[in-house]
């Protein structure tokens, strides 16, 4: 079978393995060692690593630059690109440059609004939206042309990803929005962190019924809770996050010094269910500022060793 990009993530998914991806937030500074240190914990643990792009609208080392450091470390990056900070010229230029340096996966996102970040005065670009970014990246790959229609030489063959939030309102529309992203040309989806399993099951069921899960790989988003405070913060403050009270109660019931461990238990229970869930092709683990815990989580979630595919 001919691969679209030949990325490791694509190979793992097309071979039918249950994918396991990680995430790494670039530093708020120019220290490459910081990226290498975080990357060290992820080696051999995941199939690809999402490199966030000015996440929460805070300035960080650029996602393509941190992705290159990851490549040097022998890890496969999933280069995230948001629509907030670049217009279509800069986006296409970065796609070409990223591909030229060996980046093969891309995640297309709208991006958190600039008002959240450290430069709320910034002008948000949003020249194109995430849906249009997906379709532009696909056009570059499959038609070998720029968005303008002009031919490009040296085609960037990206494995194209996007996010989906099964929990934000209107719930009824979310699966159609997934359908639109697939129509735009997405190859894989990584979902928002899942805590409300009931709602997620319903969303996947609808995606299955519409045949969407056969057209793109769905990776379920998992973020282990480190503390009760984190759970309460995510429930109350993070837009589009759905944290049921049972999760908070389960963490509270864990007893002193055992909350983080219980957070990992919850994550592992979820991963076990995802492995068996029709329409779910893998898990995207977002261990936020908890990269050093990834080996333990991967071990306990029984997703090791990761498949090696040539």
């Amino acid at each position: 079978m001919e691969l679209k990009s030949g990325s490791n993530l694509e190979k793992v998914l097309t071979a039918g393995h249950f994918a396991f991806t990680g995430e790494l937030g670039p530093p708020r500074g120019a220290d490459a060692a910081e990226v290498r240190e975080k990357a060290e914990h992820l080696k051999g643990m995941v199939d690809a690593v999402n490199i966030t792009d000015n996440q929460t609208a805070m300035v960080r080392m650029s996602s393509w630059a941190a992705s290159l450091i990851l490549l040097q470390e022998g890890l496969e990056p999933n280069f995230q690109m948001v629509c907030r900070d670049r217009n279509r010229l800069a986006m296409q230029a970065d796609i070409l440059g990223a591909y030229a340096h060996g980046i093969r996966n891309m995640l297309c996102l709208s991006g958190d609004h600039q008002q959240f970040g450290d430069h709320p005065q910034a002008m948000g670009v949003f020249d194109i939206d995430s849906m249009q970014l997906i379709s532009m990246t696909k056009q570059m790959r499959d038609e070998g042309t720029f968005l303008s229609g002009a031919e490009l030489h040296g085609v960037p063959k990206m494995f194209i990803g996007a996010a989906a939030n099964p929990f934000a309102e209107p719930f009824e529309w979310r699966v159609h929005r997934l359908g639109k992203k697939i129509a735009a040309g997405v190859d894989f989806i990584q979902t928002q962190c899942i805590y409300n399993m009931e709602r997620f099951r319903e969303w996947v069921k609808r995606a299955n019924d519409m045949g969407l899960t056969e057209k793109a790989y769905i990776l379920a988003g998992v973020t282990p809770m480190k503390s009760v405070g984190m759970a309460k913060y995510m429930k109350a403050k993070v837009p589009g996050m759905d944290v049921p009270d049972e999760i908070i109660k389960r963490l509270q019931g864990a007893g002193k010094g055992k909350v983080a461990d219980e957070g990992i238990n919850i994550a592992c229970d979820q991963i076990e269910e995802f492995k068996e869930m029709k329409g779910v092709a893998g898990v995207h683990l977002m261990a936020i500022e908890w990269e050093h815990k990834v080996p333990e989580i991967a071990e306990r979630a029984k997703v090791l060793p990761r498949p090696q595919i040539d």
């Binding site: 948000g124 996010a163 639109k180 837009p239």
Partner: protein, 223 residues
């Protein structure tokens, strides 16, 4: 209408500090309706400037006139016989009016008395909200009469994003999510089909000055 708000007093005072004779020109249309730059606001500003300059022992002579529309040549003509009596002009019109005035009297310094805010609607006296960004390619037919360019904080054409929070926008709980509203309205009208397809990238060409010439009209030889 075009909505504006008066500039901070200190800023206006500082812009005209070197002039002894200033004509304050109000505009009788949009900025008058939104209580920023009509006849009444011209009077209030002149009174404040007059008092402040007296206190600073640098008195100023202020003239006043409010024309129907500063964005219209025929109304600006009224000023032709007046401006030479003044050192500078203060305009309380929107950015378009101020520029048209400055263009006509290019030999006189012209200063803005208001900040032009947006194209909006009148919710109540003194309460205005933005509704249009004049993008030059209206999609309101597709979106149930709710503008995604203006009302969505990210201007998304294929929303809603993942930041919708119980019907609110991620930027603020008091800001409704435009795409949530679009969905609700189209669903009520049985028209969800109209947002099922991916909307392609927009042809933004609104960053160079635009001109509209209606069918049947043409640009005069010498405007």
């Amino acid at each position: 209408m075009i909505v504006a708000k008066r500039k901070p007093f200190e800023e206006i005072k500082s812009m005209i500090k070197d002039y002894k004779k200033v004509l304050n020109v109000g505009c009788g249309t949009c900025v008058a309706v939104c209580l920023a730059g009509g006849e009444k606001e011209v009077d209030v500003l002149n009174a404040e400037l007059d008092m402040a300059r007296k206190l600073e022992e640098s008195p100023i002579e202020l003239g006043k006139i409010t024309v129907e529309r500063q964005c219209d040549r025929e109304y600006l003509e009224t000023l032709d016989s007046m401006v030479d009596d003044y050192d500078a002009i203060l305009s309380m019109a929107c950015g378009a009016g101020i520029q048209f005035l400055a263009e006509r009297f290019a030999h006189k310094p012209v200063f803005p008395g208001v900040d032009t805010s947006f194209i909006g609607i009148n919710q109540d006296v003194g309460w205005y909200e933005e509704r249009c960004r004049s993008c030059n390619s209206c999609v309101l037919g597709m979106t149930g009469g709710i503008c995604p360019v203006t009302m969505c904080a990210k201007g998304l054409y294929n929303g809603p994003c993942g930041g919708t929070n119980q019907g609110s926008c991620e930027i603020h709980k008091d800001q409704p999510c435009a795409w949530y509203m679009i969905y609700e309205r189209l669903e009520r009208q049985g028209r969800l089909d109209s947002i099922m397809d991916v909307v392609p990238a927009q042809d933004w060409r609104n960053q160079t000055p635009r001109t509209v010439i209606q069918p049947g009209y043409k640009k005069p030889e010498a405007a």
